[in-house]
């Protein structure tokens, strides 16, 4: 051990010498020693003799030479991030730090809407939550009155909104981070997830989680693909008809438990929060130093449905996509019912695509359980008897010429041959596919492939930026069009809080919408208006990406469908950000039209994506370390920082 330590030490110091990086005061090295540095490691009552090497300095020196410097770096960054965003909660307070309002307390105070004393104190102590104009000056709620250094002020809605948005963002990220830790498949057998296995692995790694051996309520279940990453702690309806949670948060974070006697668990505070704060620091760097990279990232929040046209399904796919277009153009029920609430539009869009996804898969039971889906299928079948024709084989009802229907028919063929007990079946590729080369029964193979269909993702949704695009159609056409600046221009934002502006915007929206109210009735425009945007159209308040040509028929309204030869795509654009919408002070910004919390949430989402691109992580770290203006009180730490971040010392 000693030899190795020395080798490392010499090597490091040699490198430092070559770079001319040595400290100036060579006469005696500065060493920051713990207060009990010279104490004995152990004392034994009655022993008068000195025990050789029984001194804590031996241990502390070894620590200093191996890992203390990197721990100081990590701690510096985390403490700095806590200085930026506030301590997450009381569990994360460093020893000796008292009389501070944590982010959690501030957010709860805002939520309580009763005086905001804690929130005000918190905001005043954390300038990341202040309201700034485009010149970077701290301004009052009116957006123009500059608050001078030392001047007191009362934080306004914008600043309170910043607190709420940051808290929400961190809460969502905790869930997303935890989801990413269980989604690897390591804790899943035959599609059934076991939280017990996950908790056990953490327990074995020495993490602060509730002891899995004290819990007897674990169950195994399939995590439906519809469970979003940020819903990992939420109840969901399982395929088995029961309600489940992917993870029980209290097992990992006792501070969220209502039970004061809950067993201690600080895994989320110990492991997840520092990671999140590290990411937030990168994003804060972007917002402070390179905000254009966020504002001009052409961020889009989309919802894309893909309906494949594989051989047996082509006719069904054609009919289905036409039916979907028809539904999108369904006329509002009243003169004032043009939908303007974006949350409702998103929810409706998600439900609509989800419904058609289930229909496209042909999952009989799920379609039967969904009245709308069943009606659509019945309508299609009424148009042509061979479309969505119901059949039953092996006790399984299915729609012919659908993904699920094909599976049932293959299953039936195999079972039929299996019943004949002919050995040749064993070499049949379909048989080996069902049995997964002899590791499961045909019946189970059918069930597993059915689950695979249920879990298949026909829908792509979420935030994306131009430099980090999702894989959609095979030609890249959707990406080409989606990130045009024009898309963001065409996406009209409504300010529902301002009556006069709302009216004007509503008029704009109504003008741009393909559904018009004329002569006491709604109708679809005869054709696209001349000034309609080339890339985006509004249909009943919802926005769809447009394509050249009419993929799903001759009707011009079908230009919202893209056909890449093997599949149809319909792209709903929930949000399309641009510089003006993301500026702090702007009549056109999201804060103005959608509220501060919403704007912060958009910025958080976009910065999160941008921060993971390029070399922002390194740039951010160097930036913050420079800002920290660190005073070193230990030579080894100084040498470590100098060796790893030489630019800081130029």
């Amino acid at each position: 051990m000693s030899t190795n330590k020395k080798g490392v030490r010499l090597a490091v110091l040699s490198v430092i010498a070559l770079l001319g990086l040595t400290a100036c005061n060579e006469s005696s090295e500065v060493v920051a020693k713990p207060s009990n540095y010279d104490d004995p490691i152990i004392t034994i009552t009655g022993n008068e003799d000195e025990i050789h090497h029984n001194v804590l300095s031996i241990i502390y020196d070894a620590m200093r030479e191996s890992g203390v410097s990197s721990k100081v770096l990590d701690e510096s960054l985390y403490r700095y991030a806590s200085s930026v965003f506030g301590y997450y909660n009381s569990v994360t307070l460093p020893e000796g730090v008292t009389d501070v309002v944590t982010l959690k307390e501030a957010a709860k105070d805002v939520e309580a809407n009763a005086g905001y004393a804690k929130a005000y104190k918190f905001i005043k102590e954390h300038k990341a939550y202040w309201y700034y104009n485009e010149e970077g000056e701290h301004v009052k709620e009116d957006g123009t009155t500059v608050i001078k250094d030392g001047e007191d002020w009362t934080p306004g809605t914008t600043e309170l909104g910043h607190v709420t948005a940051k808290w929400n963002a961190i809460e969502a990220r905790i869930a997303e981070d935890m989801y990413s830790r269980v989604s690897s498949g390591s804790y899943t057998t035959k599609n059934y997830f076991s939280e017990k296995e996950f908790l056990r692995s953490l327990h074995e790694a020495g993490e602060s989680v509730v002891d899995y051996q004290t819990i007897d309520t674990f169950t195994k279940f399939i995590i439906p693909y519809t469970v979003e990453e940020d819903e990992v702690f939420d109840l969901f309806d399982g395929y088995d008809g029961a309600q489940h949670r992917v993870l029980t948060r209290e097992y990992y974070q006792s501070s969220v438990s209502d039970d004061a006697n809950a067993p201690e668990a600080t895994y989320i505070e110990d492991e997840i929060i520092p990671n999140i704060y590290n990411d937030l620091l990168i994003e804060q760097y972007l917002l402070d130093e390179d905000v254009a990279s966020v504002r001009n990232s052409r961020a889009r929040k989309i919802n894309v449905l893909k309906i494949e046209k594989y051989s047996s399904f082509t006719n069904n796919a054609d009919m289905l996509v036409k039916k979907l277009v028809e539904e999108i153009y369904a006329l509002p029920v009243s003169a004032t019912s043009l939908e303007t609430n974006q949350e409702v539009i998103e929810e409706n869009g998600n439900k609509l695509f989800e419904k058609y996804s289930i229909i496209a898969k042909g999952l009989y039971e799920q379609i039967q359980a969904n009245d709308d889906a069943k009606q659509i299928v019945d309508d299609l079948h009424a148009l042509a008897s061979d479309i969505y024709e119901v059949e039953t084989k092996q006790g399984q009802s299915y729609y012919k010429s659908t993904t699920y229907g094909d599976l049932v028919e293959d299953y039936d063929k195999i079972e039929t041959v299996l019943a004949e007990k002919k050995f040749d079946l064993l070499s049949d590729t379909k048989y080996t596919s069902f049995t997964s080369s002899g590791t499961r029964s045909v019946k189970e193979g059918f069930e597993q492939q059915k689950i695979d269909i249920m879990q298949a993702q026909n829908i792509t949704k979420g935030w994306y930026i131009q430099s980090s695009t999702p894989t959609l159609d095979s030609n890249g056409t959707i990406n080409d069009r989606l990130f045009k600046l024009s898309v963001a221009n065409a996406k009209i934002e409504l300010d529902e809080t301002n009556d006069s502006e709302f009216a004007a915007h509503y008029a704009d929206l109504a003008k741009a919408d393909r559904l018009v109210y004329e002569g006491g009735a709604w109708k679809v425009r005869d054709e696209a208006s001349e000034d309609e945007n080339k890339f985006l159209c509004s249909i009943n308040g919802a926005y769809y990406l447009k394509f050249d040509g009419q993929s799903a028929g001759e009707d011009w309204t079908n230009d919202i469908v893209y056909d890449d030869g093997s599949a149809y795509y319909i792209v709903q654009v929930f949000e399309a950000a641009k510089d003006a919408k993301l500026r702090n002070v702007s009549k056109d910004n999201y804060a103005h039209t959608r509220g501060q919390v919403f704007m912060d949430e958009v910025i958080d989402e976009v910065a999160k994506i941008v921060g993971k691109t390029g070399s922002y992580s390194t740039l951010s770290r160097e930036h913050w370390l420079e800002k920290m203006d660190i005073k070193y009180h230990d030579q080894a730490i100084y040498d470590y920082f100098k060796s790893n971040y030489p630019d800081l010392f130029d």
């Binding site: 713990p34 090497h53 020893e95 102590e125």
Partner: protein, 645 residues
């Protein structure tokens, strides 16, 4: 030893002299501040101080910190306790001190020699030696050697003086030969339940995943019969057969010995789990006695352990491992002999037929259109041997009752009289069959000359003939009767003795050490080393190295008298050791459970292939009619012995 700050200071001074140009500021880059490592300006222009005690405190709480503390505390304990310990067999402190001084003197001589051979000075070479041990001076070096000797001596003494209790923990038994209930074991230390197994392997080229139409070569068929014939013949020992005929190059030269097979040994599932299944369940230790749970636990199976056998989108089907073992290793194994209730059997005459007709690719000029798969050796191999769970070999001859009945395809079995010297009879002067109750009847099954039953199994490598020289249960109070013969059983403690035959305390009888009789004492010593290494292995106790620490902490010299400078440290070390053991234990259990899962699911598929497809296996009768010109059509397309392969 050197204080590191001094060494860093010296080197830094030297470097500083070379890099003076960098020093043009009057403000030092590093300044002293009591209790502080760094200070930084926060985002809100506040001052953030990273405190020395906080960072070192966090380090202390980490696993890396705990290890550093452990090393230092162990050193302090050894240095304190060694001079005061009065333990039989432990060298005195003065003796060690003298040895340490000798080592210092020896180092000086080395420095002298090196100075001469390297054309350097003594001082330079002496410094190199000091540096290599991170020592500052001669006294430091003396202390270094002294601690090294103390630690080694004490570790060896501990292992030697605790050999019996270590062995019991390792074996999973108590002093009364009883299986130690799981709850009574040292916390989370996994007993390894060792077996001493020998085997003869006949490698087969047949596809391991082809459970009904595999093909073996002429030479493999010949070899199978050669091995079985010699195993039957009492004039050969099992060890001799292994030495002469086994295809396992690793164990062949060791007379078939694969060493100690513990729960952690990575052998084919058919080999290791096959032995477990045979010993615990197939041989009848599945009664409802109180120890049943612990017997299962010995093999990594909890009575409630389940295999996920099927899932649907709404349901999960799990089956008990113990139920599946019986189902897939007995009930669902079907051969022309019939169905089984305790363990599958294979008549010796199957091997004989396979061997004798091995070269008969054509009889009377006839050959099957299906190719080799319809040759008698392969028909018999697939019908009687091509399943991956344990079987016993009986002394039976087989015959086909009706050579035209390919559907029932039944055989008649008659005991073979090996003592009959009549011409044409297969005669062996002393055969190795012993009588035991199998599938509800007394049968004679193949054993070795000592009455240890031989267990066959098909693995992906070929067919193993395994001899359980020592079962973990054979000498416990569980009275496992199967195949034990009439000889008195050696206790497990004695079987795994750590003495050699010339030692006074050597137990005698059959032991792991004396598997081979020889005058070469080094052989016995090597065998003892194997056992000792197993007992000291971290496989057995992940925290084995910490036992000395626990021993010293519990010594009366320090018990209730010791105080740690940092009160958390003792707790951290204890917690670390506990977690280390627990993690290993749970991980190993999971690993063996996973092995059972994959093995049992494979067997389920195998049995499905063999049983659920009526034309999966070529009828056994075909092996008996091959070469009969009147039955030639049966081997042509459309015939009963034709398959499209």
């Amino acid at each position: 030893m050197k204080k590191s700050k001094l060494s860093v200071g010296l080197v830094a001074s030297f470097i500083g002299a070379l890099a003076l140009s960098a020093c043009n500021s009057s403000t030092p880059a590093v300044t002293e501040k009591e209790g502080s490592l760094v200070e930084l300006v926060g985002y809100n222009d506040d001052t953030i101080e990273i405190k020395t005690n906080d960072i070192y405190g966090k380090y202390t709480d980490s696993s890396e910190g705990t290890k550093l503390y452990y090393d230092a505390v162990l050193e302090a304990l050894i240095r304190y306790e060694y001079p005061k310990l009065e333990l039989a067999g432990l060298k005195s402190f003065d003796t060690l001190k003298a040895e340490a001084k000798d080592k210092v003197e020896s180092s000086k001589e080395t420095a002298n020699d090196n100075a001469s051979s390297n054309s350097t000075s003594y001082a330079e070479e002496w410094q190199k030696i000091l540096d290599s041990h991170d020592c500052e001076n001669e006294e430091d070096l003396l202390q270094y050697y002294l601690y090294d000797l103390e630690k080694t001596e004490l570790s060896d003494w501990y292992a030697k003086n605790n050999i019996d209790s270590l062995k019991n923990e390792y074996l999973g038994i108590d002093e009364d030969w009883g299986l130690v209930p799981t709850a009574s074991k040292v916390e989370n230390v996994e007993s390894l339940f060792p077996y001493h197994i020998l085997h003869v392997l006949v490698t087969l080229s047949a596809d391991k995943s082809d459970y009904s139409r595999g093909t073996i070569s002429e030479s493999e068929a010949t070899k199978l019969w050669q091995v079985v014939r010699e195993l039957i013949d009492g004039s050969y020992s099992f060890e001799d057969v292994a030495f002469k005929l086994s295809d396992d190059t690793g164990s062949k030269s060791a007379y078939g010995d694969v060493g100690i097979m513990s729960k952690k040994t990575s052998f084919y599932n058919e080999f290791k789990l096959g032995i477990y299944a045979y010993d615990a369940i197939l041989s009848g230790i599945n009664s409802n006695d109180a120890s049943t749970k612990d017997i299962y636990a010995a093999f990594g199976i909890d009575e409630e352990d389940k295999v996920i056998t099927e899932t649907t989108s709404t349901n999960i089907k799990e089956e008990k491992v113990v139920d599946m073992i019986k189902e897939e290793m007995v009930t669902n194994v079907k051969t022309p002999v019939g169905a089984f209730t305790t363990i599958p059997t294979v008549p010796y005459s199957v091997f004989k037929m396979i061997g004798e007709v091995a070269k008969d690719n054509k009889i009377n000029g006839l050959s099957p259109e299906s190719g080799d798969v319809a040759l008698p050796r392969n028909v018999l191999y697939n019908q009687f041997l091509n399943f991956h769970s344990p079987f016993l070999v009986t002394n039976e001859d087989i015959a086909v009752a009706d050579l035209t009945d390919f559907v029932n395809d039944s055989v008649t079995l008659t005991e073979h009289d090996f003592s009959n010297t009549a011409a044409g009879n297969f005669y062996i002067q002393n055969d190795n069959f012993i009588e035991m109750n199998v599938n509800g009847a007394n049968k004679k099954v193949l054993a070795d000359r000592n009455g240890n039953v031989i267990i066959g199994v098909r693995s992906e490598a070929g067919i193993h003939f395994m001899l359980m020289r020592k079962s973990v249960f054979k000498a416990t109070n569980l009275s496992v009767a199967v195949g034990t013969g009439t000889k008195a059983d050696q206790s497990l403690q004695d079987y795994y003795t750590t003495s050699i035959p010339t030692d006074a305390d050597y137990p005698g009888g059959e032991t792991f050490v004396n598997m081979k009789t020889t005058n070469d004492q080094s052989y016995y010593k090597d065998r003892v080393s194997t056992i000792k290494d197993e007992l000291k292995s971290s496989n057995f106790d992940a925290a084995y190295d910490y036992r000395l620490y626990e021993f010293l902490m519990n010594s009366e010299l320090v018990k209730s008298k010791i105080t740690f400078a940092d009160s958390k440290v003792e707790e951290n070390i204890d917690e670390y050791i506990k977690l280390l053991r627990e993690t290993k234990s749970v991980g190993d259990t999971k690993s063996i459970n996973d092995s059972w899962q994959s093995y049992l699911l494979m067997l389920r598929y195998q049995n499905s292939v063999r049983n659920d497809f009526e034309d999966s296996l070529i009828p056994n009768t075909c092996a008996f009619i091959f070469g009969d010109s009147t039955k030639a059509d049966e081997f042509k397309e459309g015939g009963k012995c034709y398959v499209n392969k």
